[in-house]
């Protein structure tokens, strides 16, 4: 169970006593309580108002950037689809494969296949395992993974355009594409042969599938 901060909407890990992001004292929620809605989170959250960013953070309606990870939020049309957290939409049928890419570690020890399904946009979280939260691309245990954040970056597999994008999620040690450091929240289109560095030591190359 995650503890959603009633103040900023951040999804905290179980152990958090204060919101990790805004330091709101989460134990205050029960007693000190300006409004009763605190238990369910910010007003509007349970009514399906607002938007979820590609990483599943709740944001108030009209927000242009995710308050938590800084990812730019799409305009209203695409927001409608994102109203449900991405976890729930994963159940959908996958459809027809359009294109396959491979992300291969520099020493070729680790490989992830990335399948783009026609007309579907899929987000894949890259990071390290923390407790029961396992990212889609789990780098835990690889050499150099100590400098990878738990929520390090997102791959966006765009089955409309047949493109792959990478977004840094404000990772501590950064994401680099061909040596260029991404700004937190910055979305970069990848092409075959691009070198992607997560943290400082984990090097990958994008290859054709």
């Amino acid at each position: 169970m995650t503890k959603i901060c009633p103040i900023c909407g951040y999804r905290n890990r179980d152990s958090a006593e204060y919101c990790e992001r805004c330091l709101f004292n989460l134990s205050d929620t029960d007693d000190l309580n300006p409004k009763a809605e605190n238990e369910e989170g910010i007003e509007g959250m349970e009514e399906g108002l607002g938007v979820y960013c590609p990483n599943g953070h709740w944001n108030p309606p009209g927000a242009k950037f995710c308050q938590v990870c800084g990812v730019p939020l799409e305009d209203k049309d695409t927001q409608e689809e994102l109203l449900l957290p991405p976890e729930e939409s994963e159940e959908e049928e996958k459809g027809q494969i359009m294109k396959i890419y491979k992300l291969v570690s520099h020493d070729a020890e680790f490989l992830v296949e990335l399948s783009l399904y026609k007309g579907k946009i899929k987000e894949m979280l890259i990071g390290r395992k923390s407790g029961k939260n396992i990212p889609d691309v789990d780098l835990t245990g690889l050499k150099g993974a100590e400098v990878v954040s738990r929520r390090h970056a997102n791959l966006i597999l765009d089955g409309n355009e047949g493109e792959i994008y990478v977004v840094d999620l404000g990772s501590t040690n950064g994401t680099f594409v061909n040596g260029e450091k991404l700004k937190p929240g910055e979305k970069i289109k990848l092409k075959i042969g691009d070198e992607i560095l997560f943290g400082k030591a984990l090097r990958f190359v994008l290859e054709e599938g």
């Binding site: 330091l23 300006p34 007003e43 108030p60 943290g199």
Partner: protein, 404 residues
């Protein structure tokens, strides 16, 4: 050079798998053995909006501050409006020179627009004309406006260059139309400090005050190296902040397997607090090893011995750590409020402001409480916050100890 005190807000809890804890480290400057030599570059706004009392006060304040400088120090003066002019190149001031410089200052006229970044860049060039290692190096930047004729991005680049050279920037915003976001970023990047001058009269004192403060530097470019034990991690989203005298975000940088955190300078008799947000095992035995290094006032790199195997023990006054967390929460929430108001979500902003109001009450900080209350009222009434509101909110949420 300084005393070090540290500890947690709360002990870990063996019955839990993982716990979140806050570690406060206080660095207090001891009595200085020898005062440092100063190398100060004044980068000053002489745009048209400074005309009248402000520019006259600035001139008399600047002249007055010359008395703080001895013939071992260096100063330079750069003026900017939409253009930049070097009024005084980096120089040593002998007694008779001071008269000449005062005459130069008398001739300053206010006119033109505002181009902060170009001014900063020239200031940075001037300050580097001496061997930086031999001095305590500061740029003192004053502006009363937004960077209308310049690029904020360029200003931040210059600030980053300054930081790499170990030069800090005091930013002083005068009046009620400057950008607290830009000045804050510039001072934060360089681990400097940020001030707000409301009354032109204060311009007469501010430079003397700042130069006197810098003179009390006992350690510059202090760095904490941290080697975490298995089981301990920094929060990735809010890992570390300077929490006294002002709140400044810190970025622990991983170098091989140690974190390095730059925390700026330490002054005689003044305390700098640094708060770390950590996650650790409930039965964590050791937190980390750490080492503090810095440059002394003679420019020599000094390393204090490693402090090995720091155990999870309480800070001598755990309530102070809780108050620090609360203080920081108000600052962080205030940032989110700005984003929400900008993103067009005043209702969510209001919820946050009301929480901040409660925290300020708990902290017993009347000024902070008053400004938050004002913001609550305005947001409730659908009134947009003015530049002045934003400046005041920034200053009151950021500044924990005034005159420190």
């Amino acid at each position: 050079m300084f005393d070090v005190k540290y500890g947690l807000n709360k002990l870990p809890d063996k019955n839990k798998k993982e716990v979140q804890r806050f570690f406060l480290m206080s660095l207090t400057g001891k009595k200085a053995e020898k005062s440092p030599r100063l190398n100060v570059s004044f980068v000053l706004d002489k745009s048209g909006s400074m005309d009248g009392t402000p520019i006259e006060s600035l001139k008399s304040g600047l002249k007055r501050s010359l008395d703080v400088f001895t013939e071992n120090d260096r100063i330079s003066i750069v003026l900017f409006d939409s253009m930049v002019e070097t009024l005084l190149e980096n120089t040593r001031l002998y007694g008779p020179d001071k008269k000449k410089v005062k005459r130069l200052i008398n001739n300053i006229d206010a006119m033109g627009g505002t181009c902060i970044d170009e001014g900063l860049e020239i200031g940075l060039k001037e300050i580097q004309k001496v061997k930086l290692q031999d001095y305590v190096n500061w740029i003192i930047l004053l502006t009363d406006g937004k960077n209308d004729h310049g690029s904020d991005e360029h200003a931040l680049e210059v600030a980053k260059n300054a930081r790499e050279l170990g030069i800090s920037i005091f930013t002083i915003g005068f009046g009620k139309h400057w950008s607290p976001t830009l000045l804050e970023k510039i001072s934060d990047i360089t681990k400097g400090e940020m001030y707000h001058v409301q009354d032109p009269k204060e311009l007469k004192e501010i430079f003397t005050e700042k130069a006197t403060k810098i003179r009390k530097t006992v350690a510059k470019n202090v760095e904490i190296t941290i080697d975490l034990y298995e089981g301990v991690n920094f929060s990735e989203i809010t890992p570390a902040y300077i929490t006294k005298p002002q709140i400044v975000p810190l970025e622990p940088v991983l170098d091989v397997d140690q974190f390095i955190i730059e925390v700026g300078d330490i002054y005689e008799g003044k305390t700098k607090d640094i708060l770390f947000q950590l996650f650790m095992k409930g039965n964590q035995k050791y937190l980390f090893d750490f080492k503090i290094s810095y440059y002394d006032t003679e420019g020599q790199r000094q390393e204090m011995p490693w402090e090995k195997g720091v155990v999870p023990s309480l800070y001598e006054d755990p309530d102070k750590v809780s108050a620090t967390i609360d203080r920081l929460s108000v600052y962080l929430q205030s940032e989110i409020v700005n984003d929400l108001l900008e993103g067009g979500a005043p209702e969510q902003a209001l919820t946050l402001l009301q929480t901040m109001q409660l925290t300020a009450t708990k902290l017993n900080d009347d000024e902070l409480k008053t400004i938050i209350e004002q913001n609550v009222t305005k947001v409730q009434d659908g009134i947009e916050l003015s530049d002045e509101d934003l400046i005041k909110t920034k200053m009151f949420t950021k500044t924990v100890i005034k005159d420190d």
